[in-house]
């Protein structure tokens, strides 16, 4: 990995990894790397929030540890769990040993019986600081969010039976949220913040071209301008950049070199993900979308 000395060099490096970022985002990432503060990224679905963590891990040539949040996510699934079967066996094996109960207990609650879940894994990484992605944090419960505070500010975790474990290497933490609920102020204050919005026409074309180098310029323009127009409509699910890429890709696979009414109708399902939206757009005339021909 080459030394990153300036935000603009991040843009270049990201570009090599097919990720397009603007100055503001690059600066935020730069600070994440240099200050080692967690970065909270918010924005609509499908604009590359999760992707950046993946790219970051590639750039830093380190491991990506991912924690997908969901409602009811608890500490056992996120931090650690004891290996119960092994513990039961351990107790049985120790039955005739001369150790006292305290010693036996200490033994079966040692690292040997500990199953590391993503968060614990991220601070116990031996060789290199990993990238820790905490994805869709807004889906988790508030309790879990509160629990994260210890990790995000002190980079340590407490396990009652063992004690406090401090990070050997501070992980680079990226948190993402779709803003389905407001995250707590306490959490936000421990993070850097960046909001990613839908890209404009030019930037989006840039992104798609990076991902699908073989695409015809004409098709690219048509697809992107179409999606940009979709976003102006009142759809129940606004397509993100990933949908644009999917759409362009499916058109390419089907062998279209440019968009026409037939191709448009056939492949609408790869960009619009709700029956109502598809009906609405289908019933509108194809010609209504000013597609550069």
């Amino acid at each position: 990995m080459q030394e990153i000395k300036h935000p603009s060099s991040i843009i270049e490096i990201l570009e090599k990894h097919h990720y397009v970022a603007d100055d503001e985002f690059a600066t935020a990432l730069f600070l994440l790397l240099k200050l080692q503060k967690p970065l909270l990224i918010e924005g609509p679905p499908g604009v590359g929030k999760t992707e950046i963590a993946l790219v970051l891990s590639q750039i830093l040539e380190t491991k990506l540890i991912r924690l997908q949040c969901y409602e009811g996510l608890d500490i056992n699934a996120a931090v650690y769990e004891w290996n119960y079967q092994k513990q039961l066996l351990g107790i049985k094996l120790q039955e005739d040993s001369p150790f006292s109960i305290e010693e036996k207990e200490k033994h079966i609650f040692s690292y040997e019986y500990l199953l590391k879940r993503p968060l614990l894994q991220s601070i116990m990484e031996e060789e290199k600081a990993p990238v820790l992605l905490i994805d869709e944090l807004d889906r988790s419960d508030e309790e879990f969010e509160a629990f994260l505070l210890e990790l995000l500010s002190a980079f340590q975790l407490s396990i009652p039976e063992i004690g406090t474990i401090k990070a050997t290497h501070k992980p680079y933490v990226v948190l993402t949220s779709n803003r389905t609920r407001e995250l707590s102020d306490a959490l936000k204050r421990r993070c850097l913040y960046h909001w990613i919005d839908y890209p404009d026409m030019e930037k989006e074309m840039d992104i798609v071209r990076k991902r699908l180098p073989g695409i015809e310029q004409k098709l690219l323009e048509q697809v992107v301008s179409c999606v940009q127009q979709f976003r102006q409509q009142k759809l129940s699910k606004t397509p993100g950049v990933s949908e644009t890429i999917d759409w362009a890709e499916s058109l390419m696979v089907l062998g279209y070199r440019e968009m026409n009414a037939e191709a448009f109708k056939k492949t609408l399902g790869s960009v619009l993900k709700s029956a109502e939206d598809i009906d609405m757009i289908r019933s509108a005339d194809f010609a209504e979308f000013n597609i550069a021909t």
Binding site: E24, L31, L35, E71, L192, Y193
Partner: protein, 379 residues
């Protein structure tokens, strides 16, 4: 008047002053943020002006709204010349500064100006009095009683919130076996798991969305309903509240801090909405377009509190109700008019909405509002 960039000597001083400046204009910046900013600057991480701006943005802001405010503040602080200042001095008002508490806002919620103290009024309210007040239609309550009733309401609402919480705890029975505790306790008996410990499934937190009609016709009821919403917040942490008449305002944030006065002030700022009629359909449409995607995610329980007297387009209302019902776990409509004798949902708006409503309840007196507890308990 806070310092501005030109009056500071060094970059360190400038950053500290900027942090203070931003804080005084509504950004939530503490010592930690300032420290981070200084650290970023001192480590020679920041070279250009643009970068400087972006870097501080990442450190100082926590939402896109704050981001926009920041952009303004940045220009104001760093790019103002002393000479420009004299002209602008009086013009600068930036949104985001803390709003002053207003008392007269209560007036519009049908509670009258209570400046003249009604001290003579006896403050004793016996059990009978309480019962009577609970059953009295909210629109028929006079000013003096209103205070008493508010007191009673506050108490009952609090009790209700506690009950709802407790009910969730009581129902924690038979769960999966908690292996962790079982094994820990079994060490004493040499590894034989004699006692099985169970793990209760943590109660699923129901999300709640409340839409309150504050139009003129709801006048008398809105204040108590707003109180009620505040009480609900105690139990439903994830509560989103909106008020509407001709337009829609989100009040969740203000409720979060239990600042009823802020909500009322926000309402007052939109005084023009009071004169016009209610456009329930249009407001629901606005709701689903602007907030629906985020807030209706994961099927919350939705409560609409309105009398259903719609002066807008009825067909929009019907359409929106169907949409709303599909996206919510349960759609509850509280209508104060339902408490009147012989009331039939004949008003065009109400009639259109009714087929999509799961529970249609009255909310004309305290008792009927409290009945909602039963619906929410098993919602």
């Amino acid at each position: 008047m806070k310092q501005q960039a030109f009056s500071t000597g060094s970059i360190t001083e400038g950053i500290v002053a900027f942090a203070q400046f931003s804080r005084s204009h509504g950004l939530n910046i503490g010592v930690q943020e300032t420290q981070d900013a200084l650290q970023a600057a001192s480590a020679n991480l920041i070279t250009g002006q643009q970068e400087f701006k972006h870097a501080l943005k990442a450190i100082f802001c926590t939402s896109p709204e704050e981001g926009r405010l920041y952009e303004q503040l940045f220009i104001l602080f760093w790019e103002t010349n002393p000479t420009d200042l004299r002209d602008q001095k009086n013009k600068r008002t930036i949104q985001g500064s803390v709003e002053k508490k207003t008392n007269n806002s209560l007036v519009m919620l049908g509670r009258g100006k209570s400046d003249q103290n009604s001290v003579e009024a006896k403050n004793v309210s016996g059990a009978n009095e309480t019962e009577r007040l609970k059953k009295t239609d909210l629109s028929k309550i006079n000013e003096m009683e209103a205070e008493q009733l508010e007191e009673i309401a506050r108490k009952l609402f609090r009790e209700m919130a506690v009950r709802l919480r407790r009910r969730l705890k009581e129902s924690r029975r038979n769960g999966q076996i908690n292996l962790r505790r079982t094994i820990r306790k079994s060490i004493a008996s040499g590894g034989e798991p004699l006692d099985l410990y169970r793990k209760a499934r943590s109660p699923k937190k129901q999300r709640l969305v409340v839409l309150l009609d504050v139009s003129g016709s709801m006048d008398k009821y809105s204040f108590f309903l707003l109180r009620f919403i505040c009480a609900l917040r105690e139990n439903f942490r994830q509560l989103e509240a909106f008020v509407f008449s001709t337009s829609l305002i989100k009040v969740s944030k203000a409720l979060q801090h239990n600042r009823l006065d802020l909500v009322l002030a926000a309402l007052e700022a939109q005084t023009n909405t009071w004169s016009g009629g209610t456009k329930i359909g249009a407001c629901l449409q606005e709701f689903s377009e602007r907030h629906g995607k985020q807030i209706l995610n994961g099927s919350p329980v939705v409560i609409i509190m309105s009398d259903g007297l719609d002066t807008g387009d009825i067909s929009v209302l019907g359409q929106e109700m169907v949409k709303l019902q599909r996206k919510s776990k349960r759609l509850i409509w509280l209508n104060p008019l339902k408490g009147m004798k012989g009331y039939e949902p004949l008003a065009a708006g109400m009639k259109t909405a009714l087929p999509s409503v799961n529970d249609f309840k009255s909310a004309h007196n305290l008792e009927s509002i409290l009945e909602l507890e039963n619906i929410l308990a098993d919602a």
